[in-house]
């Protein structure tokens, strides 16, 4: 569904020098697939994600969505940022209808009904008329996820969406995301530096190296679905998590 071909990113520094954030990377994301990008901070995983979202142009290489070259944000790809980024002057429901207004989706009533349905799906029923600041951090991120689902795009890219949440809320959100992913049928590209989170959620985990970022290995997570936190004690789960951990640590010892 999404083909990433030899995509690389070099940033120009203010002093004219260049910083290579990402070495040429190739990766294909299939329909309805859950792929996580894990790696140390500064490995270019967020850069890669933002290029898929069309928010940052690649320095070279190309990204194709169902065969068509991406040259900017696409209606088919929705973004969930690290922070919820709800507009504070809009009530919760109005935040969910924002993509409808901006994208000009028609018929509007269909999508508004969808937005209400999604609020129910993420457990925010009854908060339609609340302002974002009246919601807890976890609730705000739920609203942000619901907003990303409103336009019925076929792919969701998520940049450490639960990074700012406490451990308990994070587990809750993981379970919820799994449930939403299973019913929504979307592909998800998920950036995290939390290894158990990546293993629990994903079909495949892409392990990336420290700057300049490149793909060290892509692991298939062949654990049965539907999954829940009881997997954390599973032997295969532990083995996969350890494999990722050792990939990351050998790499960093080589560097240092």
């Amino acid at each position: 569904m999404i083909e990433i071909r030899e995509v690389e990113k070099t940033y120009r520094r203010l002093d004219g020098g260049q910083v290579r954030a990402l070495e040429p990377v190739s990766l294909t994301i299939r329909e309805r697939e859950f792929v996580s990008l894990v790696g140390p901070s500064g490995c270019g995983k967020t850069t890669l994600l933002m290029m898929i979202a069309g928010l940052i142009p690649p320095s070279s290489g190309e990204i194709r969505l169902r065969g068509r070259r991406l040259d900017g944000p696409s209606r088919e790809i929705a973004v969930v940022f690290q922070s919820p980024v709800l507009l504070p002057w809009r009530r919760v429901l109005a935040n969910l209808t924002l993509p409808i207004d901006v994208l000009g989706l028609q018929p509007r009533s269909h999508y508004v009904a969808r937005a209400r349905e999604l609020l129910r799906l993420v457990g925010l029923e009854g908060f339609e008329q609340a302002y974002p600041r009246e919601l807890s951090g976890g609730m705000q991120q739920r609203a942000a996820i619901a907003r990303a689902l409103v336009a019925e795009s076929s792919c969701l890219v998520m940049d450490e969406p639960f990074g700012a949440l406490d451990a308990m809320t994070r587990e809750e959100m993981n379970a919820e995301l799994l449930r939403i992913w299973e019913v929504s049928g979307r592909a998800i590209v998920f950036v995290t530096h939390n290894i158990p989170e990546a293993v629990l959620l994903s079909d495949r985990v892409v392990v990336m190296s420290h700057r300049p970022g490149r793909i060290l290995e892509v692991l298939d997570i062949d654990l049965p679905r539907p999954r829940d936190f009881s997997l954390l004690g599973d032997r295969r789960f532990g083995a996969l998590a350890n494999a990722i951990r050792s990939l990351l640590s050998t790499r960093s010892t080589v560097i240092s």
Binding site: P73, A78, V79, R133
Partner: protein, 279 residues
């Protein structure tokens, strides 16, 4: 009284005196009005005790008498001053928002026009009053021009600042919805700028009134500023105070009008987020 609750012999029975008056002053309006009444009362007493002549410092009752005497005089002059104040403010609001938007959205103008206007902002604009009267005459035009000129900068700068500090994550979110530049402006930048604009307008409306009065001091045949000059020439100090008290009331009404609008528009933001005070 419950059975068996015999009063302690040494302790007087705890009678709860209903403290009525402080509760009235829990409302900020009532508290403010109460403080004003007390201050006026002290003023009256002080003038009576010290026997200061009324042309030096009039008592509140002298001022009230002057207000009553001038009841047929004040409305015309008051209306004249308010007309210039509000017209100047309205023009400043329109031009300030329009120019502020242009300057912050068009990079070329930001580089060229903004420094000029910032330089203009540091100029003491009231000092231009004599020349404005030379240019625009003794009529209302010179008052409106000076009021506009004074009121423009707070609005203009607050718009530039408000639009310039739009949250980059919110902009990225809008871009992810393929938003046009206009949509980013409308859905993110403009709402972000409203709190700044309200703060600017609040300062600006008072500037507008000040500029109008100064212009009336210097050359006019009507208006509250003109009246103050006439009254002080006749040593009618109570009249001057009466005129000023009417202007203070107008200032309060304008200030609270904008505050009310601000509360309506910015219900989404807590006051602490805006860094605003309650006044």
């Amino acid at each position: 009284m419950k059975a068996g609750s015999v009063p302690h012999p040494l302790r007087p029975p705890a009678v709860r005196v209903p403290v009525a008056w402080p509760r009235v002053f829990a409302s900020p309006t009532a508290a403010g009005a109460g403080a004003a009444v007390v201050a006026l009362g002290l003023w009256q007493v002080a003038v009576l005790v010290t026997q200061v002549p009324a042309y030096y410092i009039p008592s509140p009752l002298d001022i009230a008498a002057a207000l009553w005497r001038g009841r047929h005089l004040y409305p015309l002059h008051f209306a004249y001053t308010m007309y210039a104040t509000l017209a100047g403010f309205a023009i400043a609001l329109l031009t300030g928002v329009a120019l502020g938007t242009l300057v912050s959205e068009v990079a070329f103008l930001e580089r060229t026009v903004l420094p000029l206007l910032v330089a203009g902002q540091s100029m003491p604009r009231i000092a231009l009053a004599p020349i404005v009267i030379v240019w625009f005459g003794f009529g209302i035009a010179s008052k409106i021009v000076l009021a506009t000129f004074s009121a423009f900068f707070p609005i203009f700068l607050s718009v530039v600042h408000g639009l310039g500090t739009a949250n980059q994550e919110q902009v990225a979110l809008l871009r992810s919805f393929r938003a046009s530049r206009w949509q980013i402006f409308r859905y993110v930048k403009l709402p972000n700028a409203v709190p700044f604009l309200m703060a600017g307008a609040n300062v600006s409306v008072i500037f507008s009134m000040l500029a109008t009065i100064v212009a009336e001091f210097l050359g006019a045949n009507r208006g509250m500023g003109y009246l103050i000059v006439q009254e002080s020439n006749q040593l009618d100090t109570a009249g001057v105070f009466a005129t000023i008290s009417l202007l203070s009331c107008a200032g309060l009404v304008l200030h609270y009008g904008i505050q009310g609008l601000r509360r309506r528009l910015l219900g989404w933001a807590t006051l602490s987020e805006l860094g605003g005070s309650r006044t």
